[in-house]
Symmetry: D2
Subunit: 260 residues, 4 copies
């Protein structure tokens, strides 16, 4: 099945451009976020991970700056003109997020949150719909259908690893699913190798594997100082690791009819 | 660890009474719901499954009567004085549900919906927190903690089956988890063998197994006419099957220091 | 489907007797094995776990006394006249085992070892066929068919837990499968709650749950001194824990038409 | 960790050559096997899949030509001088196989068959050790250790997909494991995308993904007439599909320091 590309801002996802959307797990402060933005932009990234509301397994973990992120995002946006991608975790956040965010991300814990999906179906913004770590492909496509039924067809699927019995890696990245969806669904497909592996040292290899599987883009965690990151420190690339990866992607993507 | 019982209305969960909460998957119309209520009450059930908002894998499936359930619930309540347990699928529903519902159920797809859990932490009503079909026990307990942190300690855990590679049954009911939680957590534990097996013919056996594993109660689907049910028809007990099960539970529960 | 009972020695499995087969994970020395045998016999156990060849994940772990078990088994047998159940891990062991063993156990790692199953199809001894921890029920029944095709219909299935994402327990005991098999297959079904949970403190509860699910018997690890056991020390019951369990089973089994 | 290459015949695995070992699931007759051999050789394959003994889920399925394969293999060998890789399913087969086979394959169902692994530890031939579809990486490495302890260090690991809840694909190919093992183990790593996906249309994409993940070679099913194959017909590549894949691999492997 031919991929139906999704266009917004100055970009088109699912056509001949390969996209890398990157940035930290969560906005920590202005300095960390601005540094990340400038770096991602310098590397050719076309959108910035702007973590505002975070879903954390433990109530004691840092839940994001939340409403306090607003001035930071506004400033970084005006200085870098990067598109912002951010996770929405509650339908009541739309009013607040709508002026700050260019792409709504539905995280792995919310793929089955159909009330949220229905709400996003009313939006005109593109939705990056991550796979629940427990979702079968068929259920994932039915979740996308909830958004389509609401009137919004600007959907990008994002494989981010599924839960299996393996314990050496945080999740098992399912690239079978990527190749399958590129043949059987009309949606562009991204891959998140940061969550898909949980280990920064595996991210470069799996990012490249994702290209061959047919991915239209990558969602990658990078941080100015990974060991100090307030979340997901084990899986974030340092800036130099990220540069190394981009150099490899530049050689690889043309073999697959994509340019970076 | 000793179970801390949860008391509300005239009942106490987690002490010496064994509770069976039953009813249809979803309210279909007044006649179906009233018949179910009268039957459940006649059998000694202490709360009624009142399905108002349903999360269905497919957007095309029946999503519940939603706001139109209100008059039906009011009528059935006044005629049977059963406690009502109903799933909440969006924090915005609380205002509507609060006058209709005695126990909030968090369904398997929402155990990781921490914004919803935070909202329920502000309620004083008991919360039946189902395990996500993909949740480790440790994550389930951390989800409960989100409610506790909000100020609500009236939590009942409900094991309802996990997703595994087995395909003959809809889920794999994890009674190990029930025995484990009764030893290691302070919360009362229910078991839902209807979703836990997905096959009505297995429900009686697994209901009894749940008692031995330490369960404080059961959540069971029963319908006046299972083959015509608008959802979960394969797993609902007919009224006569339900009666047979109750007879067995009456003999079994005293061996475990519980009365029905 | 009606269970076809399996008769051998003085016992019948799958009829009105409920059987407990117990003993240590592995034969360590004469004293440990004799003590275990006398204890199991005094408790009404009808067969003894006689671990001769052990499959261990690590090549460095104790692999059983192997051929050196012979005099120990002979002595214990003559003193207690218990039936011996022992795992066979290689078709070449049959010659050695045939005079020592009354019931061949196919362990979880060998359920897919079809060459071994074909060999056991030629035996007249009963085969306790454990489920591979990764096997679907349908595959388990097809494995049993390999034995039947060889001419041996004396098969007892044994559920011993499947591998899932849960990490608090060693395996997830699948009692759905037990209830399912009692309805859909002709074979008697045992449950091994020791491996099924991996934690001795959960064994009594799950043993009783197994009875309600329809089990015809239990395979249980017990050891004179669990903390010193050479394998599976976390899951073996002490003798006093075992006694406590037997007392409970004596009350429970009559409710299910079985006597202990 | 640096990969320790495995050398035998005229080839070296784990160094700068990328190897494709291909052929049918099972030897069906001389014509099918000879055609496959000539084709694989013409494409640059360095070993031929020679299925002699097959483990099939059902006792009724074709179990391989077994001893009758001997003259066919001898003939094909003399005409093509390809190395033969064949699965061993019983330690008693070694005597028969030793003169026919250059590489022993331990299949997914036998990775936990430690008695077989011990026997192979005494061989000097290279062992392709497939991952059990239920094995954690740590267990897989411990299985390899059984062979090493016996004295044979010529081990090649082969990722072939693990069992998960996904049902659209036969298995979930775990390329995380490949990247992990290339960093953390000394063994060369192959990937079997035929079993890893179960769908021939996904094999080319995942084969290429495997290269980026670090694989040293591929094990691929190809058949002169896939729809007529006696086993695994859904996952075998036709000869023209195989040619297309080889052309792509020729462009891709040099980016990863490998030549085909």
């Amino acid at each position: 099945m031919k991929t139906k590309s999704v266009s917004f801002g100055a970009i088109e996802v699912g056509a001949t451009s390969f996209h890398v959307w990157a940035g930290p797990c969560v906005i920590e402060d202005e300095s960390q976020f601005l540094k990340s933005a400038q770096f991602v932009r310098s590397q050719g990234g076309t959108a910035l991970r702007a973590g505002i509301f975070k879903l954390r397994t433990s109530a004691e973990s840092f839940q994001g700056l939340r409403e306090e992120s607003q001035p930071i995002i506004k400033k970084v946006r005006s200085e870098t003109d990067l598109l912002m991608i951010s996770e929405i975790t509650d339908p009541r956040q739309i009013e607040f997020l709508d002026s700050l965010v260019d792409i709504y991300q539905v995280g792995t814990r919310n793929m089955f949150n159909y009330e949220l999906l229905k709400e996003l179906g009313k939006s005109v913004k593109p939705i990056l719909l991550k796979r629940a770590f427990s979702a079968r492909i068929a259920e994932w496509l039915k979740a996308a259908d909830y958004i389509v039924q609401g009137g919004n067809e600007n959907i990008i699927l994002c494989e981010r690893g599924i839960r299996t019995f393996e314990t050496k890696t945080r999740n098992t990245l399912d690239l079978n699913a990527v190749a399958f969806l590129k043949q059987e669904s009309p949606f562009p497909v991204f891959v998140d190798p940061s969550h898909g592996t949980g280990l920064s040292q595996l991210v470069p290899a799996l990012s490249q594997s994702a290209v061959c599987a047919g991915a239209d883009g990558l969602l990658i965690e990078t941080h100015p100082n990974p060991s100090q990151a307030l979340c997901d420190s084990q899986q974030a690339l340092s800036f130099s690791e990220f540069e190394g990866l981009m150099a490899k992607l530049k050689k690889l993507t043309p073999l697959y009819g994509k340019s970076l």
